[in-house]
């Protein structure tokens, strides 16, 4: 049982209130709950606050991990999540605070007050940063012995703290500070600020924190990329820089573009982008002694196959030895490349595509 005896701020009367554990009634809620809830509790998304692109990337990742989500449902789910849990703490779910990490940690974890954390940062820089480091992860290895403070992000005093409940008593014992004063001189407001600042540092470190983004991926050689495009990559068989790829770099940020060129079949478009949805898989089924039926693949397994033909009519068959099934996956060339190209090829291709502004 944790009690905030040091600063008895009863911000969270009930854990559920803190976490804002509810799903807004918006279009797509049922689709989201059905698709995501069939593998894990749907509540795993609660506390996340991300933009449309980030939700899109996360849900696409889930598809690669086995989530059964159709292209149509994909859009519905991403729209639901992006509208229900957008960036920006308070707006996220009606809660006072958006956690960075899915579902991890205790229900009663501290709700970081950004203003108090900013005040705490000032105290931290004045009194602590020399020994504990800019990110509160401890001193650098080459710091002098007497200035080597431990990692505070991993500190149990910090992790067990709620609003100063353990940091306060620790500092009350007297801890040396940069100014030469003892920590016993800190006011309660300063300690509360330090508590918020340190919890913010922990949140930043966690998966899904604000820095969970690639930093610099434009390392390739555009000329080499152009050569691969026209040569070994065989990209010109389907794409042209003046045609479907014209201005491609102004439609996607570099990370999305790299993902899309390697995994076009699992990387969905940004909302508003003019790029087409992934192209459908086409299939031709030829029953014995009957004309072939061609259409968009709806379903296939070892036992049955179904398609929708040009007129919109649905057909299905039991799969038998004499039922001929020809599948045309428009992304087959991309899948083949996964076993062919090097990381340099990919980075070069990206550098080349980046020239197509």
């Amino acid at each position: 049982m944790r009690t905030s005896f040091w600063f008895p701020l009863a911000l969270c009367a009930a854990a559920a209130v803190c976490r804002g554990q509810s799903f807004p009634d918006k279009p797509g809620k049922a689709v989201f709950q059905r698709a995501c809830g069939s593998c894990h509790a749907a509540t795993m998304v609660l506390g996340r606050a991300m933009d449309h692109d980030q939700w899109s990337a996360l849900v696409a990742n889930m598809v690669t991990k086995g989530a059964k989500i159709s292209d149509a449902d994909f859009t519905v789910i991403v729209n639901y999540l992006a509208e229900s849990f957008p960036p920006g703490a308070a707006a996220a779910s009606g809660s006072e605070h958006a956690h960075h990490v899915v579902d991890a940690g205790p229900d009663d974890e501290q709700v970081v007050d950004p203003a108090a954390a900013a005040r705490g940062r000032t105290v931290y820089i004045a009194e602590c940063v020399t020994c504990h480091g800019a990110k509160a992860r401890g001193a650098r290895d080459d710091a002098p012995e007497n200035l080597r403070g431990p990692d505070l992000v991993r500190s149990l005093i910090v992790l067990h703290d709620r609003y100063g409940s353990t940091i306060g008593p620790f500092l009350a014992q007297g801890h040396p500070m940069q100014s030469g004063h003892s920590s016993t001189s800190l006011s309660q407001a300063q300690i509360l600020g330090l508590s918020h600042f340190l919890h913010a540092m922990v949140d930043e470190t966690l998966r899904g924190g604000p820095y969970s983004q690639p930093v610099n991926i434009l390392t390739g050689d555009a000329a080499a990329g152009r050569a691969f495009f026209a040569g070994a990559g065989g990209c010109g068989a389907c794409h042209s820089p003046a045609g479907d790829l014209s201005h491609i770099a102004s439609r996607y940020d570099a990370v999305s573009l790299q993902q899309r060129l390697v995994f076009p079949n699992s990387t969905r478009r940004r909302r508003g982008a003019r790029m087409a949805q992934p192209q459908p898989v086409m299939i031709t089924v030829t029953p014995p002694a009957k004309p072939p039926v061609k259409g968009v693949l709806v379903h296939i397994d070892d036992f049955n196959v179904a398609l929708r033909d040009e007129s919109g009519t649905y057909h299905s068959w039991k799969r038998t030895a004499d039922l001929k099934v020809d599948i045309h996956d428009p992304y087959a060339a991309h899948i083949k490349l996964l076993n062919v190209y090097t990381d340099k090829n990919i980075h070069d291709l990206l550098a080349y595509l980046e020239t197509l502004k």
Binding site: C36, G37, S38, C39, H40, A41, A42, M44, A57, N61, V63, T64, K65, G66, K68, V101, V102, D103, A104, G105, P106, D108, E109, G133, R137, D141, D151, V153, R154, L156, L159, V202, T205, L206, R207, G209, Y211, S212, Q213, P214, V215, N216, I217, G220, V255, Q258, Q259, V262, F263, S266, T267, I300, D301, D302, F303, L338, Y341, D343, I346, H347
Partner: protein, 523 residues
């Protein structure tokens, strides 16, 4: 720091009469007394009333849905434990007792949660009249088997450090073996043994060496080692003759950025053999030295009594998340086979110990590295199966690619500090010859991927799920699909089977529903 703390060393006073001993050591076909069905982890049943010749007549016997008021509470990832005609299974914070003959609920129990990751729960352990399960908020809970009333709960980890509980406790003699999960912040993994009567800690084994041990040199410094991960969230197996407990450990931490933990990072991503009475390690084998791809080596360490070069051998096989199939001598951990069973482009080869050698170029990079398999892995927690009649090891294997990025390229990354993005995957059910690691047959699923568990039976059958929500039975010798049922959700656990009143049942979980199939036709 002591690696093994003996809190209550009562090995000497082991009771001669352990309530479940006979049914644990040689389970009869009307029981399934633990997560894997028996201590070997083979998930093979001698039952053959349902067989390749009559599988067409396997029909639906009952359905049990866990949904409460329409809100999703997760998928059934646990394999039910069956004792005295009752199935016991879980999702996070929930336990059910259901009549194995007709799927009617006997009782249910809900834990009031204080947080933790609710990604899945693998099930229960049973000792005498008591049931044990772990909660996401770090408790080991004991219930009365009869009515689901709570006897006690004991903390097994610290939520504030982002640990959580998910595994099915294994009962070995008078030990309740529990493991821990969680890799958001940099914390050490450990395995514990608890007293089945009181829940008191008997011993704890940490997934890192003691400072000063030779293996401690696989870390750059003690601080990195003591924050180095190695969660114990996979199922344990046990060899009563050797009195050794086997399990795998999870990824090192920080997870993706390995800069501040150069070296092999023992005992992360290793297969471990422990004495269950003392928690003392007998041997280890590292499936993924210095991993940077989140490829926990917690997949079932399966015990196979096989023959090698004409000699009977006590073997242990693992199809690891990193794409490699390993066969070890389980008496001493010596490697006999290392072979890829799925696409894996991250290793430069294998060393003298049979361990893959990671290729630095395929570690995550700031600009991205195309890696196979992806973070989900070539295999994962869903249990494989071994059929001693065919001599084949069955696993849903995934060829998968993803791009791994470093997000924090500073000297002191923490937490994850990177991740994989996007991807493509393709799954097959594979039958692997344990002598060589060669694929005897491979059945490629239509669609993107299947991560279902596997059951094999003496009826020349293999049961699993495909990528299209079907529960499928295949010919164990040839891989030919013989029977299927569309369950509307992916198979989400390891299927199990049993015989009651002369009828063989096959039970499988798919999302929020437990399905009971049976051979109802009279022969």
């Amino acid at each position: 720091m002591k690696n093994t703390i003996a809190v209550c060393m009562s090995a000497a006073v082991l009771a001669a009469q352990i309530p479940n001993s006979p049914r644990m050591l040689d389970p009869s076909p009307d029981t399934w007394p633990m997560y894997n069905g028996d201590y070997s982890g083979r998930r093979f049943s001698k039952l053959d009333k349902v067989n390749a010749g009559n599988i067409d007549s396997l029909s639906l016997a009952w359905v049990y849905r866990i949904g409460q008021g329409g809100e999703s509470i997760g998928a059934i990832k646990s394999t039910p434990v069956l004792l005295d005609g009752i199935l016991y299974f879980t999702v996070p914070d929930h336990v059910w007792a259901v009549d194995a003959r007709d799927g009617r609920e006997v009782w249910s129990y809900t834990w009031q949660s204080h947080g933790g990751i609710h990604i899945g729960n693998r099930g229960v352990g049973v000792y005498g009249n008591w049931l044990y399960f772990e909660t996401p908020d770090c408790n080991l809970v004991s219930l009365n088997l009869k009515d689901g009333s709570e006897r006690w709960h004991k903390p097994i980890c610290d939520l504030d450090q982002f640990y959580f509980g998910s595994i099915a406790p294994l009962i070995v003699k008078d030990h309740v073996i529990t493991g821990v999960s969680g890799d958001d912040l940099d914390i050490p993994g450990y395995l514990e043994s608890h007293d089945p009567e009181t829940g008191a800690l008997q011993w704890r084994w940490y997934a890192h060496p003691n400072p000063g041990d030779p293996e401690a040199k696989t870390w750059p410094n003690t601080d990195a080692m003591l924050h180095g991960g190695g969660m114990t969230w996979g199922p344990c197996t046990y060899d009563p003759e050797l009195n050794l407990l086997y399990f795998g450990t999870g990824n090192p931490q920080p997870v993706i950025a390995g800069k501040a933990r150069q070296g092999d990072d023992l005992y992360t991503e290793s297969i471990i053999a422990l004495n269950p009475d003392t928690g003392k390690m007998a041997w280890y084998f590292q499936s993924s030295p210095h991993d940077t791809h989140d490829w926990d080596a917690i997949e079932v360490p399966m015990l196979i009594d096989g023959t090698v070069d004409g000699r009977p051998r006590k073997l242990l096989a693992q199809a690891s998340r990193n794409g490699y199939f390993f066969v070890l001598d389980r008496t001493d951990g010596k490697n006999l086979v290392t072979a890829k069973f799925a696409k894996a482009n991250w290793a430069k080869g294998t060393d003298a110990k049979g361990q893959p050698i990671p290729d630095p170029a395929k570690m995550p990079q700031p600009d991205g590295a195309l890696v196979s398999p992806d973070q989900g892995g070539a295999a994962n927690w869903p249990p494989p199966s071994f059929d001693p009649l065919t001599g084949l090891f069955y696993i849903n294997a995934t060829d998968a690619w993803s791009i791994y990025y470093i997000y924090d390229d500073s000297d002191k990354p923490e937490g994850w500090a990177g991740n994989d993005r996007g991807g493509y995957s393709q799954s097959s059910l594979e039958a692997i010859d344990y002598h060589t690691g060669k694929i005897a047959w491979r059945h490629k699923w239509e669609g993107w991927g299947s991560r279902a568990g596997v059951l094999s039976t003496a009826g020349n059958l293999v049961f699993t799920g495909d990528a299209a929500n079907n529960f499928v039975a295949m010919n164990a010798q040839t891989g030919e699909p013989l029977w299927h049922a569309n369950l509307a959700r992916s198979v989400s656990n390891g299927p199990m089977t049993y015989e009651l009143d002369g009828t063989q049942y096959v039970v499988v979980g798919a999302g929020d529903t437990l399905w009971g199939f049976a051979m109802l036709r009279k022969p």
